[in-house]
Symmetry: none
Subunit: 416 residues, 2 copies
């Protein structure tokens, strides 16, 4: 079966944003064996929207639209499609109730235009919006299937994955021979090193395919195969996974797309242990990552952002002579990293502690180069140790790599 993807928004036509939604939807379609023949971007204009829908409907079994479901007068997607198909628009009461109760909880007046987000097209199925107000649409009409999704990615993606894909798959029936993939997540190893150690597998790949990805501070590999049943897929993926694990298994911290901080929170919670943090150059980033994990309060007690030497002295008891003066190791040193980890563990009363101190840039500090970072790791009853890193990239990238590496060190300790 054939699909077309239509993204609605003048900001796309002006080049103000890049069309990542089309890529996301295209990947999802590929994942269930649905062929995408065209992608189109069209502005917030009723007549051009109508023409675009009409053309797509003449060519495709599925017309998947993203954008234009919001509250403003610019948001015309539902109106334009309803007009084209000669269908009426009406309010979806559960969505309307959600909007009303949200505004009530906020204690602010609901602006009338917000009601537009609860609109549905006659005869459609509503698609729930778990991260926003605009309800989505799944509609079969004269042999063509329409899916209307919101534009903001954080609303579009869950609606597409949770509600649109199952609806599309049920329409496709047996034609939906899905792609199955498995993600292996790595820590403490760079992309080029990882590729080097798997190069023969990557170059000789057929089925499953092996695709390495690098995001800032993290590397992952996706193994992908196409199969009708999950069992068949699992069998095909398992052999390749075994081979990868035999070479670089020490660095695999998860076999699904989870961040390392989530794994660490689980490790700590299962062991009944707690963590504290002392962050200098990362400025709260490690703490922010850990607390982004729901339920992290079971494992994480808290931390101190010791951004100045004054705070390192006053709140964490690092002696002035260690931090400043001729010949002193300085704030960016193994000695300070060790002391910060030990002290924050003591003061917060945790079982483990990590410290991060370094030069994030843009300028050098204490005569030390940008990218020099020390990670301290303390464990109750085992003392503390520090590791020296020389990281590359801009300020943001150095901070992120330092944070991820600190988490990698803790993960390594905890898995023992």
């Amino acid at each position: 079966m054939r699909a077309e993807i239509i993204a609605v928004g003048t900001e796309l036509l002006l080049g103000q944003i890049v069309n990542t939604n089309a890529q996301y939807i295209a990947q999802g379609c590929a994942g269930i064996g649905l062929n995408v023949y065209y992608q189109t971007v069209v502005g917030d204009n009723r007549e051009r929207l109508r023409q675009t829908f009409e053309l797509a409907a003449s060519r495709a079994d599925f017309v998947i639209v993203t954008g234009g479901l919001g509250p403003t007068q610019d948001d015309l997607t539902k109106d334009a499609l309803a007009e084209l198909l000669g269908l009426s628009i009406s309010i979806h009461q559960p969505s309307m109730d959600k909007i009303v109760s949200l505004f009530r909880a906020r204690g602010t007046e609901m602006v009338e235009s917000n009601a537009r987000q609860a609109n549905l097209i006659e005869g459609c199925e509503p698609l729930s919006n778990d991260n926003g107000l605009a309800v989505g649409v799944a509609l079969k009409h004269e042999g063509t299937h329409y899916v209307l999704l919101p534009g903001p990615p954080k609303e579009m993606k869950p609606m597409f994955d949770r509600y649109a894909i199952p609806w599309i798959s049920s329409v496709m029936g047996e034609e939906a021979a899905p792609l199955h993939s498995k993600m292996l997540k790595f820590a403490g190893i760079g992309e080029s090193n990882l590729e080097h150690r798997l190069i023969d597998l990557i170059e000789g790949q057929q089925d499953p395919t092996i695709a390495p990805y690098a995001k800032e501070g993290e590397v992952s590999i996706r193994l992908t195969t196409r199969a009708v049943t999950a069992e068949e897929a699992q069998r095909k993926l398992a052999a390749t996974e075994r081979e990868v694990r035999s070479r670089v298994g020490d660095h695999i911290y998860a076999d699904s797309d989870v961040p390392i901080e989530r794994v660490i929170v689980l490790q700590l919670a299962e062991a009944g242990k707690t963590l504290a943090l002392a962050e200098s150059c990362t400025g709260g980033l490690v703490s922010e990552m850990i607390t982004e994990v729901a339920g992290s309060s079971a494992a994480y007690k808290g931390g101190i952002v010791c951004y100045t030497n004054e705070i390192k002295r006053n709140l964490l008891g690092v002696p002035a002579e260690l931090l400043e003066g001729t010949g002193a190791p300085g704030a960016v040193s193994a000695e300070t990293a060790v002391l910060l980890a030990e002290q924050v563990m003591e003061r917060i009363g945790s079982d483990y502690a990590i410290s991060v101190t370094g030069v994030a840039g843009p300028a050098e500090s204490e005569g030390k180069p940008v990218g020099l970072v020390y990670i301290g790791l303390a464990e109750r009853g085992r003392g503390a140790e520090a590791e020296k890193l020389q990281l590359s990239g801009n300020r943001e990238s150095i901070r992120l790599k330092a944070a991820k590496h600190a988490l990698y060190r803790l993960w390594q300790r905890l898995k023992k």
Copy 2:
């Protein structure tokens, strides 16, 4: 005049890559006042290419195509267009010479298919490829103007900027008046409330245009006008900006695309004042945002992530009877927010302090609903106060909105 952008490539339809080329070309068109009405992605298929070109030519003055100029049998852009227009294809000798000499320099045999990259369409002007082998095409035919560019961004971008844009501008003549825009950044006001207060301006907009954007926790407005000179643009933008400021100026923290944390760091540094943070539900996010700003150590001393009640008691001296027990206000309360801000200001020795305590979810806490957040703000010599918020969204979104709102409160205080 009207333009359409067509990107050719099956890898786009499969979602393997994101269509950054369309964005780049769209920005370039906006920059010279050329209106883009549609963007299309189509695969490497001769018939569908031909149909796509035909449709675009029927609607646009400029059809700008990227991709499909390479050496393989999949690269069909020139052939499909020549076939549609009934024109012949022939070798462009300088491009051919370049290909031949490149292979000679490499010492490898030239594969015959590489010659395809030197192909030109009858009657066109060649567009030089400074970073690759495939020559581009600029062609006027029966009132429509075609521009064919390579797909790889490092080849496409210089060809577009250096050769295609000048050619398009010369065709447009005086119509090529560039767009000028100005960004106004807002804090402490939601998108729908902002729109509500500007609705007549937005609905009646002509020149300049007024476009509101919302990203997590932040709203902005872009004013855009078309003008030949910067002075003319400024004059046109200023009148609209004045009107916007007269209504919602209290919430405008910047007139360029900078985050509020950068403005705050500047405000503090200029006043020679310092900041400390006590974060509970945001877990270090505010601290991370502030320290992402290069030079923030001049204004930010540090903070305490008091993720558990134990830390609120032990490191920040919040009395146990305030936090726990029947009838106690609890950790998520105005009382605790005030005390956290006061205490962290004292202990860190700063001039200002912010505290954030709330329920980020997913589950309620202390019997209080997800999204309930208190922001504390302390100023040396002026004591502390707290504000109550009821935020919506998931855990990530609540944390982000709480952090941005805390920064908004501080900005508001500092600008006085």
